[in-house]
């Protein structure tokens, strides 16, 4: 993987092989992107265009889906609409062309805010706890270290539904059901195992000599940790944080079983966006697009660390 690849060696594939390989991979990439592109296209369609046959690739773009995902509308008679003043804003305009008026904001915004609060809250907690534990496991002799690490990993392997049954009962008893705090704690406990394993890998790579030198200069172990190790581990901590964020952002099983209104996040909400007479596909697509964009950005940022993240830090390239 290192210098030997740069040099021209006998095992370099020929140009023809390369082109052929590239062609196949690009073909796969294009096919695999179709559903995602279709989500974005659908989000800009009018409801009629979205369900037309054959499916339309070219259409007149409309923001109706985005309006519908952010607002609730009520159907009114022509006479009533005439008594109202001029339409306020683009969404009102679209609604009135369908004999409706905007009645207020939809539930998408509070669900989205819940997603943000719960994802960021649990990420901060998991990364903080994970960094401390990872340092502990990386640098100190801890009795039963391997068993503890395995225990931490195994908690993530539990089937979410199996965990959800007692959590449901426990949260009901202590009054955490359908609260953001409850979801933050739950996601933290799932993410902390990933954080410990990933960060231990990153901290293992920081030479011990740095801290030892700092301690000879009079730092305590704790000061050395804060002033020497943490700055060195910034990249690792950032990558870990993004992984935790993505997990909490995407999580559905716990959210759908343990929340109903107050603390519900976006993933259980998006599938139940419905319009008049069935699913409002442009609105669903718009909600989905807005929800997915941050993840796409993060994936591009993370691409160098992806492999580490998905294998709990085992495979490092």
């Amino acid at each position: 993987m290192s210098a030997s690849n740069a040099a021209h060696s006998v095992v370099e594939p020929s140009t023809g092989t390369r082109r052929f390989a590239g062609l196949l991979v690009i073909l796969y990439a294009i096919i695999t992107m179709v559903p995602l592109i279709w989500i974005v296209l659908t989000s800009f369609k009018s409801p009629d265009d979205a369900i037309s046959y054959p499916p339309k690739v070219f259409f007149k773009p409309s923001l109706e889906g985005y309006c519908n995902v952010f607002t609730t509308r009520s159907r009114q008679t022509q006479e009533f609409i005439q008594t109202l003043g001029p339409p306020q804003g683009l969404c009102d305009n679209i609604a009135r062309s369908r004999n409706m008026v905007v009645a207020g904001p939809s539930n998408y915004v509070p669900r989205f805010i819940n997603s943000l609060i719960i994802a960021f809250g649990s990420t901060v907690l998991a990364v903080a706890l994970g960094t401390l534990s990872a340092y502990g496991f990386s640098r100190f002799r801890v009795p039963l270290k391997d068993d503890l690490l395995f225990f931490i990993l195994s908690t993530r392997m539990m089937p979410p539904i199996a965990v959800a049954i007692p959590i449901y009962l426990m949260y009901r008893t202590v009054g955490l059901s359908d609260t953001r705090l409850g979801m933050i704690l739950l996601y933290t406990s799932v993410n902390v195992s990933l954080a410990v394993w990933l960060l231990k890998g990153f901290i293992d790579e920081i030479p011990r000599e740095y801290e030892e030198a700092a301690m000879i200069d009079g730092y305590t172990r704790f000061q050395a940790f804060v002033k020497v190790v943490l700055p060195q581990a910034t990249t690792g901590i950032a990558a870990t944080a993004i992984f935790c964020l993505i997990f909490a952002w995407n999580e559905y099983a716990f959210a759908v079983l343990l929340t109903s209104g107050n603390a519900q996040t976006a993933p259980p909400f998006i599938p139940i966006i419905i319009g008049e007479g069935g699913q409002d596909w442009p609105a669903v697509a718009a909600g989905t697009t807005i929800f997915l964009v941050p993840i796409v950005v993060f994936t591009v940022l993370l691409r160098k660390h992806l492999l580490r993240g998905i294998t709990f830090g085992a495979v490092r390239k």
């Binding site: 590239g22 991979v25 796969y28 049954i165 301690m215 305590t220 759908v256 085992a314 495979v315």
Partner: protein, 319 residues
Amino acid sequence: MNDLSTSSQITYRAVPIRPGVIRRIRGLSDQALAWLFITPTIVLLLAINIFPLVWTIYLSFTNYRANRPNAPTLWLGTDWYQSILTDPDIWAAMQVTAHFVVWTVLIETVLGFGLAFLIDKKFRGHGLWTTIILLPMMLSPAVVGNFWTFLYQPQIGLFNYVVAFFTGRGASSFQMLGDVTLSPWAIVIVDAWMWTPYVMLICLAGLRSIPDYIYEAAEVDRASNWRQFWSITLPMALPFIMLAVLFRGIENFKMFDMVNLLTGGGPGSTTEVASITLKRAAFESWRTGYSSAFAIILFVTVFGLANIYVKALNRVKSR
């Protein structure tokens, strides 16, 4: 911590003391710090994971129902376990799960390894295309799974249109999600679409871990490309492939979100994988004791697989 009394004296004479001594007596000892750092994580996991697990084990021996918390709780012993292991519905769910796991893992491994093999040829722009291929696996299975129900719509869905376009069948002549024979494949297709990149990424790491000099030696020995693939590439990438297979196996064994949104277990119970059965028993029929026992059975299975997974991880790590 035991020599706090001497610490004040020592700090005044700073320089001539050996660093090890200073480290031990200033601030907390390493051992105390280690526990201070690790304990919060362990406490959190004990509270949110282990305590509920123990509670589940207890509930699995009782007739407790979460929707009747005030009814008297009876101790049933291992009754639930016996009835689950002899229940034909459970075995049907296990069969559905096995179908799902085996086919998704097979398709993902073949496609994923193939892609990794091609990307490893390092054609121009392979970095960009690799990132594009990786996108589906980072997205929310629930949100994306939900959108696939739109692609699978008989008349208006893109998937049906494309299949109709290439096969000449009518676009509304088949229902991917409503048909007893097609729906198990509908969930396999979406899972393969999402998770092939995962296997690809791990296989790519495996292929890149093979040092060039081995191929050079094979080239000197005039081994054919075919021979090189079977004698070098595949065996050396195998631990990585196994890792990917094991992880996908575990994840798909407990698959819930995507299937719940695509089919919800239907039509009938043709796509009712184990997690869906568990959800129906626990949160729809409220048979808490019964579902706890089933949860424990699933957990023991996953735990066993996880054990193998960690052993495989360590083997890959030592490479």
